[in-house]
């Protein structure tokens, strides 16, 4: 099983699982789910299932220990004199922190070793090559369990929340394991918080007819995005990104970069549609990971609409704790005196923001291009904040209405172009390839490939272009409706039965007849599953 958007997942795993989950009563559901999670993980990662078990054990023990320390502290506080309370609190906090750090070092260490050893060896090799020419280090082959970066972040969030006392420490290991290994979110998220999901999974979801229909529609929509668009664009993207030097065509690079942005959105959000739809059928609500990202008016807004659960994680567990730490707060205070109320806090904010985007880049992959991608967005967000005030003055002087539709349209288009350009570095085969392709965007402008029709020889014929364009248009319309607050699935469900059946039949036929299957297509692998 390579992807949630596959018939193997939907027909061979999900459907039998849902039937069993539906008919097993009461508390039995949790054990069916537990077995489902383990079978699923074994299916995609084999023996590496032990990694998630190990992570869960360590996190459980640390959380349990922190809970015991908190109980002990509370007991001591209830009988302590007022003067001793602070000492008791501080001593307990120190022990809790120590325990949390030991567990964090373990889970983060595991992540770093499994995911970044190859990259570290590559860097070491490059340095050694400079110092001692002829030295050659071979990066070791390490099989990384799928979804490692996702469940590690969830485990960290749980433990930090226990330490912060916003989540009660778990006493039942199976409940924690059920949460960490919940199969629909295992490969690509969304990165979920412990409560209320853990409770829902343990208690068992309420499966209803409405949930089943809505969930199925969501799964179908995800498959549509993947098979009609993401897979269809794949051959052209492979060609252009692999042979950019031969083609040396800036216009093709623009087209390929735009197509990659569309592919990434359709592949990732399509998979998430299948994930959230699978959970919805079970009566489990997962957090949304996309909110019409291409209507963003700034880069920082874009990251509150794209891969939302990752952005929120970085904000809650890195950005705010760092910005509000004592040293950075002191920095903010002195910077405010010198730079004023607007720019002063930006100094500390920039340090925290840099850390977030460095980690964000690395989280996406072990490679310079990912670090560059993170830095690209860091610079754009920082610049956006720096020029916010001057831009406001300029627009006021020019009597431009910042709340008007033309200005908002300008902001949306500007943000879209900046995001698309960033994706070029993300997709390119290495940072140097990304830089070379970026240069070609502005230096090798030629429309030959379009005027001569050569563009149709790169794995997408004319019909593929037409089908992809219609499908993208449909997704755009759905996104516009969702942005306006329309519940599209709800509207379909409100239609009379014959209309509803006709829509569903037409949708299935379209997918079967026009999906990108067969020898000419190479389905795109789940892009985010490897992160």
């Amino acid at each position: 099983m390579e992807s949630y958007c596959s018939l193997v997942y939907v027909l061979l795993f999900l459907v039998p699982f849902l039937l069993l989950y539906r008919f097993v009563p009461g508390q039995g559901k949790r054990y069916v789910l537990l077995a489902g999670n383990l079978i699923f993980f074994w299916w995609i990662s084999g023996i590496r299932v032990l990694y998630i078990v190990g992570t869960a054990v360590v996190i459980y023990l640390a959380g349990f220990g922190i809970g015991m320390l908190q109980e002990k502290r509370n007991a001591a506080l209830s009988t302590a004199e007022k003067a001793d309370r602070k000492t008791i609190m501080e001593a307990s906090r120190k022990k809790q922190k120590g325990l949390m750090l030991v567990a964090l070092v373990f889970v983060l260490g595991l992540l770093l070793v499994l995911k970044y050893t190859g990259f570290a060896v590559e860097i070491l090799d490059a340095v050694l090559e400079k110092l001692v020419p002829g030295t050659f280090l071979t990066p070791p082959t390490i099989l990384v369990p799928i979804g490692l970066s996702f469940y590690t972040l969830e485990a960290i969030a749980y433990l930090v929340d226990v330490y912060r006392e916003t989540v009660k420490p778990e006493t039942n290991f199976l409940r924690l394991f059920l949460f960490l290994s919940f199969f629909p979110k295992l490969m690509e998220g969304p990165i979920s918080r412990y409560e209320p999901l853990a409770r829902n999974l343990w208690d068992g979801g309420q499966m209803t007819r409405e949930g089943a229909i809505r969930g199925s529609m969501r799964i179908f929509y995800g498959l549509f995005k993947k098979v009609m668009i993401a897979d269809r664009l794949n051959p052209l993207l492979d060609q252009v990104f692999l042979h950019y030097m031969e083609y040396n065509n800036g216009v093709m690079n623009w087209i390929a970069t735009l197509f990659y942005m569309i592919q990434l959105y359709c592949e990732f959000s399509g998979n998430l549609d299948v994930v959230i739809g699978s959970a919805e059928i079970m009566g489990i609500t997962l957090t949304e990971n996309f909110k019409q990202p291409f209507f963003s008016k700034s880069i920082s807004e874009f990251w509150t609409r794209w891969h939302i659960s990752l952005g929120t994680w970085f904000k809650d567990y890195i950005f705010y704790p760092m910005s509000l730490s004592k040293p950075l707060k002191n920095l903010t205070k002195s910077a405010r005196k010198k730079l004023g109320n607007h720019y002063g806090p930006l100094v500390a904010g920039a340090i925290a923001l840099f850390t977030v985007w460095f980690c964000n880049g690395l989280w996406h992959g072990a490679g310079w291009r990912y670090i560059f991608f993170g830095m690209y967005h860091f610079v754009l967000i920082l610049c956006g904040n720096l020029i916010e005030y001057p831009a406001r003055i300029v627009t006021d002087k020019l009597h431009i209405n910042r709340q008007g539709k033309p200005y908002k349209a300008f902001q949306i288009i500007r943000t879209f172009i900046l995001v698309v350009v960033g994706e070029l570095f993300f997709r390119a085969h290495g940072l140097s390839a990304g830089i070379a392709m970026f240069k070609q965007l502005f230096t090798s402008i030629s429309f030959d490939w379009i005027t001569t029709g050569s563009i149709f020889t790169l794995g997408m014929d004319r019909m593929d272009f037409v089908i992809a364009a219609i499908a993208v248009l449909l997704i755009l319309v759905v996104d516009i409706l969702k942005e306006r607050g329309v519940d599209v699935r709800g509207k379909i469900m409100e239609t009379p039965a014959p209309v509803r059946i006709a829509i569903c039949t037409a949708a299935v036929l379209v997918l079967v007849m026009f999906g990108a299957y067969g020898l000419n297509y190479q389905p795109v692998m789940p892009i985010y599953a490897n992160f």
């Binding site: 912060r164 916003t166 008016k297 700034s298 920082s300 807004e301 509150t304 904000k315 809650d316 950005f319 705010y320 704790p321 910005s323 509000l324 707060k329 903010t332 205070k333 405010r336 109320n341 607007h342 002063g344 806090p345 930006l346 500390a348 904010g349 923001l353 967000i381 904040n385 406001r392 910042r402 709340q403």
Partner: protein
């Protein structure tokens, strides 16, 4: 409350900050703006705002912000 509204107006010009209930969810305040606001609030009201308080529910409206400020002042 008046001082709080002034701060919000400065950070989110063009937004009806007194009645808005989606200051964070509606993207009127981004994370750096929230940082500015926290620094302002800590100075103005002599309070400490820890990271756990920085959740949309506390920052989505002037009313929610005022409730958090009052709570932090009492602690």
């Amino acid at each position: 409350m008046e001082k709080l509204l002034e701060m919000l107006e400065d950070l989110a010009p063009g937004t009806d900050v007194a009645t808005a209930t989606d200051l964070v969810d509606g993207h009127h305040l981004d994370s750096l703006a929230i940082l500015s606001l926290v620094a302002d609030l800590e100075d103005e009201f002599d309070i400490t705002i820890p990271a756990v308080e920085i959740i949309p529910a506390n920052f989505n409206s002037a009313e929610a912000l005022w409730a958090m400020i009052t709570r932090r002042m009492e602690e």
